[in-house]
């Protein structure tokens, strides 16, 4: 059994506990204010259910978009060097720093009917704004930096030594990527995807501005919460608890995936394989 080599200084534990309380206490305070009698009817109301389903659907799609485009972006940032790379990396961070509402406006300026690509999209018969697609785009826009940045860091940490070994063994770029690079950073990829999913799930400002708030089409749970708050702040808090629970479930599930299977017991060689060798 491997030891924890150097346990942590005690005051580190104290600081961590304070930090933990800072995050946990507000959640406790929220839970304490929930009116549990009205909780069940509220969260099972048709609008709440529709919003939750929409939220899950769009967040999952947005996370997939983030993976599809974010992994290549992280690879390019970590594995190539070109003029302007530094600036590009900063730009990728920006959706993080833009107030979401402004992000939504920027998306409207780009994909809206009068936006930069509006003409092109209209010619193609695509109408994005105020559709579920717009929700997914807003969520992907704000969630992309999380995936890119956490993956890029992991790629740099892992380094290129194993990739180099793979190349000398005759692997193509694609094989190196598929069988070495990505498996090595899988933990970071998963946690980046979880971060993205969480951010997409909580996304509100950009969606409201870019996609509007139409029940069943674009009104995700955070928008539903926002509207509830107009009339009944406590109901809004109760609805938020659902978000919290969903997030905990997803994060918990993601951490259950043991990508390296490092602790799997050694299996004996499969009989078929043995035979293949014997007849060799």
């Amino acid at each position: 059994m491997e030891l924890t080599p150097a346990r942590l200084p005690r005051w580190i534990l104290v600081l961590a506990a304070v930090g933990g309380l800072f995050v946990v206490l507000p959640l406790v305070a929220m839970a304490l204010r929930v009116d549990w009698v009205h909780f069940v009817p509220l969260v099972t109301s048709e609008s709440a259910r529709a919003a939750l389903l929409l939220s899950l659907r769009t967040s999952i799609s947005a996370t997939m978009l983030c993976v599809v485009f974010g992994v290549p972006m992280a690879l390019v940032l970590a594995r190539t060097s070109f003029r302007g790379q530094r600036i590009l990396r900063s730009l990728v961070l920006l959706p993080l720093v833009l107030p979401p509402v402004v992000g939504g406006i920027a998306l409207l300026y780009t994909f809206g009917r009068r936006g930069l690509l509006g003409g092109t999209l209209e010619a193609l018969g695509v109408d994005i704004a105020f559709s579920t697609t717009a929700v997914v785009l807003s969520q992907a826009f704000v969630a992309l930096p999380f995936l890119v940045l956490s993956l890029e860091g992991a790629l740099r940490t892992v380094g290129t030594r194993y990739e180099a070994v793979g190349a000398t063994l005759g692997a193509t770029r694609w094989t190196v990527l598929r069988r070495i690079t990505l498996p090595l950073v899988l933990p970071a990829l998963i946690s980046g995807a979880v971060l993205s999913f969480a951010r997409a799930l909580g996304e509100f400002g950009a969606t409201l501005t870019f996609a509007g708030s139409l029940q069943g089409t674009t009104r995700t749970l955070p928008l539903e919460i926002y509207l509830q708050r107009e009339t009944d702040p406590d109901a809004a808090v109760a609805l938020s608890l659902i978000l919290v629970v969903v997030a905990i479930a997803v994060v918990g599930a993601a951490h259950r995936v043991r990508p390296l299977g490092s602790l799997a017991p050694a299996r004996p060689v499969a009989p078929a394989l043995r035979r293949a060798v014997d007849t060799h």
């Binding site: 509402v101 406006i105 409207l108 936006g115 509007g212 029940q215 009339t231 702040p233």
Partner: protein, 240 residues
């Protein structure tokens, strides 16, 4: 565009039941949800979709080309922006009014009874920022009542003001009558006499880009009509 309006005008003739999208200010959520249900009942086959957001969000969306048929805004300046972009089908109609009230926490620990009390030093008063309609109204009210509030915060929406009061964080705030009513027991409303002079009006209009101008105009009429009046009055809105 204008020719689009012309093209869609004849679709009205044979539209027994169309489907329209109504953009409404977030503060109208309750009455408009009820109104939409009633309208759908009254016009079988009609399908109404509601989009609620802050008035200025709605304006931005419309200016950027959002497809909608009716706009119900919480202030006139927003409607003006949309009209300026040449997006209205006809003139806006005022369908409701609203006035400010002083809101305090239910236990009223600071002992607020009048607007002057809210201006006392040590009393934490919150109002809307001048940029938003309720803030403009609050400024006018202070002028009318000759009171100079020193707010600890100038919020960006009525909801934020209300949140500060209902949570007990602030001792008093200026919000609309309807908001006090909607908030139920979480805040206490105190009428301000001078508020009657500072009336906020809510305009509604059908939009030029509508796919179903007939139904859109029908809905505007419905909101302005007796059925609409009843629902809005129940929510605390005044008559135009």
């Amino acid at each position: 565009g204008a020719d689009e309006t012309a093209g869609s005008a004849d679709t009205t003739a044979h539209s027994g039941g169309g489907s329209i999208t109504v953009f409404a200010a977030a503060s109208l959520k309750e009455p408009f949800t009820a109104l939409a249900d009633q309208f759908e009942d009254a016009h079988p086959g009609t399908d109404l979709t509601l989009n609620f957001a802050g008035s200025s969000d709605l304006a931005t969306q419309l200016v950027e080309g959002a497809p909608a048929d009716v706009l119900a805004s919480a202030d006139e300046s927003t409607m003006e922006r949309v009209r300026g972009a040449d997006l209205l089908d006809g003139e806006p109609v005022t369908f409701a009014t609203n006035i400010l009230q002083l809101a305090v926490p239910p236990d009223n620990t600071a002992g607020i009874a009048s607007l002057a009390d809210a201006a006392r030093p040590g009393v934490k008063t919150v109002v809307c920022a001048a940029q938003v309609p309720c803030g403009a109204a609050a400024a006018r009210l202070q002028e009318a009542a000759d009171v100079d509030l020193a707010p600890v915060s100038e919020e960006s929406s009525v909801t934020d003001v209300l949140g500060k009061i209902s949570s007990g964080e602030a001792d008093a705030g200026l919000v609309y009558v309807t908001d006090v009513r909607a908030a139920g027991e979480t805040v206490l409303g105190i009428a301000v006499p001078e508020a009657a002079d500072v009336v906020n009006t809510y305009p509604v209009a059908a939009l030029a880009g509508s796919q179903d101008p007939g139904t859109a105009r029908d809905f505007v009429d419905f909101v302005v009509g007796d059925d609409g009046r009843a629902v809005l009055e129940a929510a605390g809105f005044g008559a135009p």
